[in-house]
């Protein structure tokens, strides 16, 4: 198992910076913008994007935390109530009429994002939902596409993509593990 660094700290920072500019560009500003990070690393990435927007526009963009464990389609969850499903989330703002940016580290099959979309829909009716990911590694199983991509990393299904964030991993990097 050898990890090869695909994005180092600098490249990762640059990718987040570019995504931030693109978010402003596409949304024609930051009005009604909210960020929702998908647990675990998506949350840190969402916070970093929010920090950048703060620096750039001097506005505080709300950041929510989404735990989609109970929404995965590979988990038996029909019997759960919405309250139970939502219990691990931290979204203390209304998404009604907002432009939601979902943030995750890796986009792969699309199942996580699908689950996140369901969860967001359960929360309310946003004006729009966009998806930002640090890495898009291909192999989609659902018709889902990211609006903001840090880096496309074509990979085989045997390989693993590991994202490290310094908040919990002691370094910033994206590694391809063969």
């Amino acid at each position: 198992m050898m990890g090869k660094i695909i994005l180092d700290k600098m490249a990762m920072q640059r990718a987040l910076t570019r995504i931030t500019y693109e978010i402003v560009e596409k949304n024609k500003g930051v009005e009604d913008l909210v960020l929702i990070g998908i647990k675990t690393r998506g949350i840190f990435l969402a916070n970093r994007i929010a920090d950048r927007l703060q620096q750039l526009e001097n506005v505080t963009i709300p950041v929510g935390e989404l735990d989609i464990t109970n929404y995965r389609d590979d988990i038996e969850h029909d019997s759960m109530s919405i309250d139970v499903k939502m219990s691990n989330n931290k979204i203390d703002f209304s998404i009604e009429g907002k432009r939601v940016i979902l943030v995750d580290d890796v986009l792969y099959t699309g199942r996580t994002v699908r689950a996140a979309l369901s969860a967001v829909m359960d929360l309310g009716r946003p004006k729009s939902i966009n998806l930002a990911v640090l890495v898009d590694r291909g192999h989609r199983e659902l018709p889902i596409r990211a609006d903001f991509v840090g880096k496309n990393i074509p990979s085989s299904q045997k390989e693993k993509i590991k994202v490290y964030v310094s908040e919990i991993d002691d370094k910033d990097a994206v590694e391809l593990i063969k």
């Binding site: 600098m10 490249a11 920072q13 640059r14 990718a15 910076t17 570019r18 931030t20 500019y21 693109e22 402003v24 560009e25 024609k28 500003g29 950048r52 620096q55 750039l56 989609r140 018709p143 596409r145 991509v149 880096k151 496309n152």
Partner: protein
């Protein structure tokens, strides 16, 4: 050793020893405090109309490197240094500084108190100067009477388009007096480059079907260029990713209704910290700057300020709010100067890549 003089518009005269060409020239005197890369500095077209004072005390130590020219035909008006060494030290560096300056008719003077000159420029601001054989009244009269051309870009930029083929992204570089470092960085990223003249129209540029467009560095005031250049920029910036550097950055700002003014003291060096606003990080880069975008003139509905110089407060980078178009005042190619921000070229590549992905709608 022939004695010659550097004379300044304020009446001062500095006797020194001649090297390089023995021509008499007049230009604007600017001090450059970069410690490495005299070859890159002298060959940068940005010094058209200018006499360069090196604050580093000796140049010429390493001879000239075949891979480090910033232009084929340098256009600096003179070189002033405390000490110069006429070496062509090893197999790779066969040409000495003296020979190079003679070839290109650039006069040099050494053995003058460059630190005193630096202090003088800091105190009194930009100044005209001449390199002459005799520092008499006639020489000063000539100096005061000289009017430098404002057609600098036309004199140094390519009059015809030319390709620099490769297999990667299709990049059009608009040449305002291009430094080779830009082409070097694009080549390193396998870009298929076409360099086009400064007065190309947006149609000509867009007809080349670019993945991205670079507005190059160049000499002189951006206001010397006609309105048509600004029109070209407004037309292309919405059509393809745009990266503007140096003079290109100043023009990009003007095209988006910002104002540009001349600095009291030009700044040429690599010692000022540049802050990237979005990350709050500081880095260093070669800066060769005579003009600056006025931050107050920027329409924030159109442009972000992305970078600022922490010493003189000047705008060092801009980005359009609606298009993937960005610009920097400094030289991220690091020729010469730190390579701290060379990844701006990677940014440009990624922006082009994203653009293509979107157009190709890849799932």
């Amino acid at each position: 050793m022939t004695q010659r003089y550097l004379i300044l518009a304020d009446g001062s005269a500095y006797p020194g020893k001649a090297f390089g060409s023995l021509a008499t020239t007049t230009g604007e005197l600017v001090a450059n405090s970069t410690m490495n890369g005299y070859q890159e500095i002298i060959s940068n077209q940005i010094y058209h109309n200018q006499i360069i004072v090196f604050t580093q005390s000796s140049i010429g130590n390493t001879g000239l490197d075949q891979n480090a020219y910033e232009s084929v035909l340098p256009s600096a008006k003179g070189v002033i240094v405390r000490e110069y060494e006429n070496l062509a030290t090893d197999h790779f560096k066969r040409i000495s500084l003296d020979r190079y300056l003679k070839q290109h008719r650039i006069p040099g003077i050494y053995d003058v108190d460059t630190r005193e000159i630096r202090h003088r420029l800091q105190k009194y601001g930009n100044m005209m100067a001449s390199i002459v054989d005799v520092a008499d009244d006639h020489a000063f009269d000539q100096l005061h009477a000289t009017v430098l051309t404002n057609q600098q870009v036309a004199q140094v930029a390519t009059p015809k388009p030319y390709p620099n083929p490769d297999e990667g992204d299709n990049v059009v570089v608009v040449d305002f007096g291009l430094k080779s470092g830009i082409l070097r960085e694009l080549s390193r990223r396998n870009c298929n480059v076409t360099v086009v003249p400064w007065n190309s129209t947006s149609e000509m540029i867009l007809d080349l079907d670019p993945d991205g467009i670079v507005l190059s560095t160049g000499p002189g005031a951006p206001s010397n260029l006609p309105e048509s250049v600004l029109k070209m920029i407004t037309e292309i910036q919405s059509q393809a990713p745009l990266f503007a550097i140096g003079l290109g950055h100043e023009l990009f700002a003007l095209a988006n209704q910002a104002k540009v003014s001349k600095l009291r003291v030009e700044h040429h060096g690599a010692n000022h910290p540049i802050r990237e606003i979005i990350t709050n990080e500081i880095f260093f880069s070669g800066q060769e700057q005579g003009y600056a975008v006025d931050p107050k003139s920027i329409d924030h509905a159109k442009l972000f300020i992305t970078h600022v110089d922490l010493v003189n407060g000047t705008v060092q980078g801009l980005r359009h709010r609606d298009f993937p178009a960005f610009s920097v005042q400094f030289s991220p190619d690091g020729a010469p100067g730190p390579k701290d921000s060379v990844d701006l070229f990677d940014d440009f590549m990624e922006i082009m890549e994203r653009r293509r992905d979107e157009n190709g709608s890849r799932y």
